[in-house]
């Protein structure tokens, strides 16, 4: 763990970022916008509700606010991280600084990780800074502190996954502009394709098993953090929120009863929930992408064991 924090690539970039006034301004600006949205939502809701003799204001309102904030924060991660990470390695190449890094004893994996974390640092900072804002929801009840911790763990892993796709593109493509475009296309195409494919598989399954009463989860859903998020929010809101994946035929009610699940990885989903399984799958994929990235930028790759002794360690 200590080695992570002492990664010089990360340390240097954090130092540069954190001393810039722009960073502070942008964090403040982002929080102000989030706060303004919360305020507008609350005043608008309170006004409509009081007009119709509103009941049950508090917990439902808090829940809705929570979901709005959660959604905005999620979109922020999905939209900003590809742009930030896709330039991480290709930018070093364009600036002609990559060679200078590669000829140090830093391993290529620590270079890749350092570049990824440092290029994501701004978005992660925004995410962390928004935690206090989320606690506004406590005023209304309906959400427990633990829910927020879980949500932010979900964000972290999602950010990691999106970031590893960005880094992977940055390693594969020489130009930052190409890497950025490809990263966005991949991420949004993955989002849409997994959703469509999953939905299709589901309807086909239900067509084949008309009397099926438990829950079937197609594999593509586990690849899509948006599915994971709506499942997580659905679970956290219990039945009242009406979120979850109702359109897809999955209801978060299944977390309350012991509903049997089928489909790929249903054993895992039974234990960790759909969102938990989703996190496991995207973590595995991002670790693989990062390992490949590290392998690709490694200038001299030895296929055979590196433990082989060189003939002479003497000095010339």
């Amino acid at each position: 763990m200590k080695r992570w924090f002492s990664n010089p690539v990360l340390a240097s970039e954090l130092k540069i970022r954190m001393r810039s006034w722009r960073t502070v301004l942008m964090v403040v600006g982002y929080l102000a916008i989030m706060l303004a949205i919360a305020y507008l939502f609350l005043t608008a809701s309170v006004r409509t509700m009081s007009r119709y003799g509103g009941v049950n204001i508090s917990s439902n309102l808090g829940l809705q606010l929570y979901m709005i904030l959660a959604f905005i924060q999620f979109m922020l991660i999905i939209i900003l991280i590809p742009a930030q990470t896709a330039g991480a390695i290709s930018g070093e190449r364009e600036k002609q600084t990559l060679d200078l890094l590669l000829c140090t004893p830093l391993s290529s994996l620590s270079i890749v990780l350092g570049k990824m974390l440092s290029s994501m640092s701004f978005v992660l900072l925004l995410t962390i800074a928004s935690i206090p804002l989320f606690s506004l929801v406590f005023l209304f009840g309906g959400i427990a502190p633990m829910d927020i911790v879980t949500l932010f763990a979900f964000y972290l892993i999602t950010a990691f996954a999106v970031g590893s796709i960005g880094i992977f593109c940055s390693v594969l493509f020489k130009k930052t502009s190409t890497a950025t475009v490809v990263a966005y296309i991949v991420i949004f195409a993955l989002g849409i394709i997994t959703l469509l494919l999953g939905t299709y598989m589901m309807s086909e399954f239900l067509g084949r098993n008309p009397n099926f009463s438990s829950v079937y989860i197609p594999f593509p859903f586990y690849l899509n953090p948006a599915v994971g998020l709506s499942d997580l929010l659905g679970q956290q809101s219990g039945n009242t929120g009406g979120m979850g994946l109702p359109i897809l035929g999955i209801s978060s009610a299944m977390y309350n009863a012991n509903v049997a699940m089928t489909g790929s990885l249903s054993w895992m989903a039974q234990k960790l929930g759909i969102w938990g399984t989703n996190l496991v799958i995207i973590s595995v994929i991002s670790v693989v992408l990062l390992l490949i990235s590290a392998w690709v930028i490694k200038p001299v790759r030895t296929i055979h064991s590196s433990k082989r002794h060189s003939a002479g360690t003497g000095v010339n």
């Binding site: 810039s20 060679d99 000829c103 140090t104 200038p299 010339n316």
Partner: protein, 309 residues
């Protein structure tokens, strides 16, 4: 310190380095000279573990660049021909960053960085942002960077290119200082005269092959010999070489199968006594001609002024 053995590097079918052999002695400043595209950068990048050789081997302080790249990296300071700097870093932070990358503890690397800024004459730019430094200053800063981990071998790729004469004198002084510090230096250029004053020995490379290498004075002498003469013999190579060695005007002798290529310090009309000597001594000469030999062509190219390249 640096031993290159039978090094080959191909880019697809193109052979950039072709069975290159050379040795740089510990403590020497070795000038690596050759026209553009000769394979200098390729060779240096392989020695800096930034490129894998196709075949052959390169060893630095006894460590093979492919087998033990990390150990080689700790021994080598590399300054590329083209490089960039990070914006938003001050000169001292720039050095500190690379020091950290080599795992040097904070206090130690701060001290080293201050000392190196002094060495390259940038002590007064300590807190200047690196992207606002002039090109020459960036180059010196990059040189300081390559010294952060106290490497034994410095690989400097065309450090003098784009420098004005004054900066070149400074570079020469810095190299002298490095030599006094006991560093071994491999420095490249496509202009021979640029290096001849700063180096102990020189290797000339063309089309990925080492054409000639050795003590800088010997080589300069060879070059000042205006003529290259090709002598083809039927037999008796060794005897011919011995005879030629005794001729005061003959500066260098290269043997290639049954052909001798010699550097000859003299005018055209001085050639016939040479031929006469050979014939009188019963050397079976079957051809004797003045040429634009390989060597001469290379010398012409590498001794040109920069503007002409």
């Amino acid at each position: 310190m640096l031993v290159v053995e039978d090094l080959v590097k191909r880019y697809g079918k193109f052979v950039a380095v072709d069975h290159l052999n050379m040795t740089v002695e510990r403590g020497h400043v070795f000038g690596f000279v050759g026209p553009n595209g000769a394979g200098k950068t390729t060779t240096m990048r392989i020695a800096a573990t930034l490129l894998a050789p196709t075949s052959g081997s390169v060893r630095v302080a006894g460590f093979d660049v492919v087998e033990e790249p990390i150990k080689v990296r700790r021994k080598v300071g590399y300054m590329p021909d083209f490089f960039g700097v990070y914006d938003n870093l001050k000169a001292i932070e720039y050095l500190d960053f690379y020091g950290a990358s080599y795992g040097i503890p904070y206090k130690e690397r701060q001290k080293t960085a201050e000392g190196l800024l002094d060495l390259v004459g940038l002590a007064n730019k300590r807190d200047t942002y690196v992207d606002s430094l002039s090109r020459g200053m960036k180059q010196r800063l990059c040189l300081a960077r390559s010294l952060m981990h106290d490497p034994e071998l410095l690989i400097l790729d065309e450090p003098a290119s784009g420098m004005d004469p004054r900066a070149r004198v400074e570079l020469k002084n810095i190299l002298k200082e490095l030599k006094n510090m006991g560093k071994t230096v491999l420095v490249s250029s496509h202009i021979l005269s640029e290096l001849s004053e700063m180096c102990d020995s020189i290797g000339i490379i063309e089309h990925g092959r080492l054409v000639v290498s050795g003590d800088v004075r010997n080589i300069m002498e060879t070059i000042s010999g205006r003529l290259t003469v090709r002598i083809k013999l039927l037999d008796d190579m060794d005897r011919a070489i011995n005879i030629l060695k005794e001729q005061p005007m003959v500066s260098n002798i290269f043997q290639e199968d049954d052909v001798l290529e010699i550097g000859y310090k003299g005018k055209d009309e001085d050639l016939w006594p040479l031929l006469k000597t050979l014939v009188v001594n019963d050397v079976p000469v079957i051809s004797f001609s003045k040429t634009d030999g390989n060597l001469e062509k290379v010398f012409m190219e590498v001794t040109q002024d920069e503007e002409m390249v």
